[in-house]
């Protein structure tokens, strides 16, 4: 039984890791060719991400897009989650549904909605349209983490603060915000990582004028192969693993993903 279980874990791990191992191998090829196991060893392709003007520009676009859109997503989710926690207003739940919908629907649909919208208002192709689109597309993530964060606050803490003379604003500043900060950071981080990797919405809003890294990879894929693509892929996996690892290290990732309480 134990051996079988172990084998099962190894097989799933292998399935999830295999493509990444091959890509990692390919990314250190000495020459510009698609071979595995790699021939020779070179980290030059990683340098390309930062040295090649086109890749560097795509990286800058992606990081700018991810930071700005994650920030806006949090700015939308925070007051909404706070309001839903603070007030009894059943009709306001419609906004929660609106916040969750873009993420649950097939992404192509959300992307096409943005394409129609920006084309109709005549702003199609502007970089900031992608920022706003990503912010709406990923607002779900901070909304979910923040709702969890608010739900975890013992309401008697807020009551205690008010008996000591804190008004609503002071309570928010001195009690509520410090307590939900970890959830806010994880919400931002989730949105950041997913925005960094997102292709279709970015493509349908600014794909004709600007290249983000995923767009660049896809375009490169169509015009032939370069190990830089592999290097970028590994770079992305590493960033994601680092961010999620940090969330797990500083916060409680099991709780964020739905385990009932931190001590279970």
């Amino acid at each position: 039984m134990n051996v079988l279980r172990r084998l099962y874990f190894v097989l799933v791990a292998l399935f999830l890791a295999a493509p990444l191992i091959v890509v990692a191998g390919v990314s250190v090829n000495q020459k510009q060719e698609l071979t595995f196991p790699p021939k020779g060893f070179s980290l030059a392709w990683y340098g390309q991400i930062f040295n090649d003007p086109e890749w560097r520009l795509a990286l800058i676009h992606s990081v700018t897009l991810a930071i700005c859109s994650a920030a806006i997503a949090v700015a939308i989710a925070l007051p909404l989650a706070w309001f839903l926690w603070r007030r009894i207003a059943p009709w306001a739940n419609i906004f929660q549904v609106l916040g969750l919908a873009p993420f649950i629907l097939p992404p192509v649909i959300t992307a096409l909605g943005f394409l129609s919208f920006w084309a109709t208002v005549g702003l199609f192709g502007q970089f900031y349209t992608a920022i706003i689109s990503h912010a709406i597309f990923f607002v779900t993530l901070p909304l979910v983490t923040l709702s969890l964060g608010f739900a975890s606050i013992d309401r008697s803490l807020v009551e205690a603060a008010s008996t000591m003379g804190a008004d609503d604003r002071t309570v928010l500043k001195t009690v509520v915000l410090p307590l939900i900060l970890p959830y806010l950071v994880s919400g931002f981080a989730f949105a950041f990582v997913l925005s960094l990797n997102e292709y279709i919405v970015a493509y349908m809003t600014i794909g004709f004028t600007t290249e983000t890294l995923p767009i660049k990879i896809f375009n490169a894929l169509r015009y032939g192969y370069t190990p830089t693509m592999a290097a970028v892929s590994i770079f992305f996996v590493t960033v994601a693993a680092l961010v999620f690892g940090a969330i797990a290290y500083f916060g409680d990732i099991r709780r964020l993903l739905g385990a009932m309480s931190s001590d279970s």
């Binding site: 013992d154 008697s156 803490l157 009551e159 205690a160 603060a161 008010s162 008996t163 000591m164 003379g165 804190a166 008004d167 002071t170 001195t174 009690v175 410090p178 307590l179």
Partner: protein
């Protein structure tokens, strides 16, 4: 008029009246316990005094000012919550200094007051500890110190000691009472533990189903309970049926109890007598005849259970007072008239 005055306060949740038209006056500097079983409305009453619940009707007056509509944060009170509600993101010192900090007190002022309060609760040098590292009793004290940081007019505690084990709870009861007497602060504690109420309170308010059943000093509540519910809730008691016989004498389980009068016009009533007031005699001669069914020797006290006239009577004494009682023994139960309380039907 100094003190707290509650006038016809009512709180309804839908059709259910959690607090039903309660009036109560608490003189300045007194220690009051709101006592009752869960769901009797005592916590709701306390929360209305704190402003955490809005009354459906009535008024709350503190030192002559109507504070019924004053928001909690302007009421100048200190409150200890059942969960203690210590801020997990702040240290012990920061928790205690919270009320001063949000009023813009200087760091020096905050530090001075924190030191004073930590000395008061016998936890000096604890200022920089995280609250998660405290024991149950320490957390308890920190919550008390935090609530008293601004020397409030009113000190409210909601089941403050319920999380502690029995021994620590008793010690904290004494400590809390001594602290309150030293500070002379008007204090209201919600509890369901009658021993706790007896230990601490000047005034015990027994509540049931949203109403006040009796409000009096602990000893008066114990000696002269208003009704069967209060008598049973406060300590252990024997509730025995009493009736007037043809000769006009009051009898309990067939034995005459001279000197106890039933309310005029009623032939039947219930009397309450505390276990420690019951005496035993030889069977016959004006005593209730009974048989010892169980003896519980607790070392410090002996509880004797006597079957008499279809009910069980409990009597308590020290082992020295009552050395030779054994199960199966026939015995006479004597009820001293001065200890019998005739209850309202």
């Amino acid at each position: 008029m100094p003190g707290l005055s509650i006038n016809s306060i009512t709180k309804r949740f839908g059709d259910f009246a959690a607090v039903d038209d309660i009036s109560l006056s608490v003189p300045d500097g007194k220690f009051v316990c709101l006592l009752g079983p869960s769901g009797c409305g005592k916590t709701t009453l306390l929360r209305m005094i704190a402003g955490l619940e809005e009354p459906t009707g009535g008024a709350i007056v503190l030192d002559g000012d109507d504070i019924t509509r004053v928001p909690t944060h302007k009421r100048n009170l200190g409150m200890v919550f059942q969960s203690l509600a210590l801020f997990p993101h702040l240290t012990v010192g920061e928790n205690i200094a919270y009320a001063l900090r949000i009023r813009g007190a200087s760091k020096e002022e905050q530090r001075k007051r924190v030191d004073e309060l930590l000395a008061m609760i016998h936890l000096p040098d604890f200022a920089n500890r995280p609250v998660a590292k405290l024991s149950g009793g320490q957390r308890q004290r920190v919550a008390i110190a935090r609530a008293l940081a601004l020397s409030p007019k009113l000190f409210l505690l909601d089941e403050p000691l319920s999380a502690l084990d029995a021994k620590l709870r008793e010690a904290m009861q004494v400590e809390l009472r001594q602290l309150q007497q030293r500070l002379g602060i008007t204090t209201i504690v919600v509890t369901h533990d009658q021993r706790e109420a007896m230990t601490m309170a000047d005034l015990v308010v027994v509540m049931g189903k949203g109403k006040i059943l009796q409000a009096a000093s602990p000893i008066e509540i114990y000696r002269k309970p208003a009704d069967a519910f209060v008598a049973d809730f406060i300590g252990i008691t024997n509730l025995l049926p009493a009736e007037t016989d043809k000769a006009g004498r009051t009898t309990v389980l067939g034995a005459a109890v001279p000197g106890v009068a039933l309310p005029s016009g009623s032939a039947k009533a219930t009397i309450s007598i505390r276990p420690e007031d019951i005496h035993f005699s030889k069977p016959g001669a004006g005593a209730i005849p009974g048989t010892v069914s169980f003896v519980r020797d607790l070392g410090g006290t002996v509880e004797t259970f006597v079957e008499a006239g279809g009910t069980t009577i409990v009597a308590v004494a020290t082992p020295r007072e009552r050395p030779n009682v054994s199960v199966g023994q026939a015995i006479g139960v004597v009820l001293p008239p001065e200890s019998c309380v005739v209850l309202q039907p």
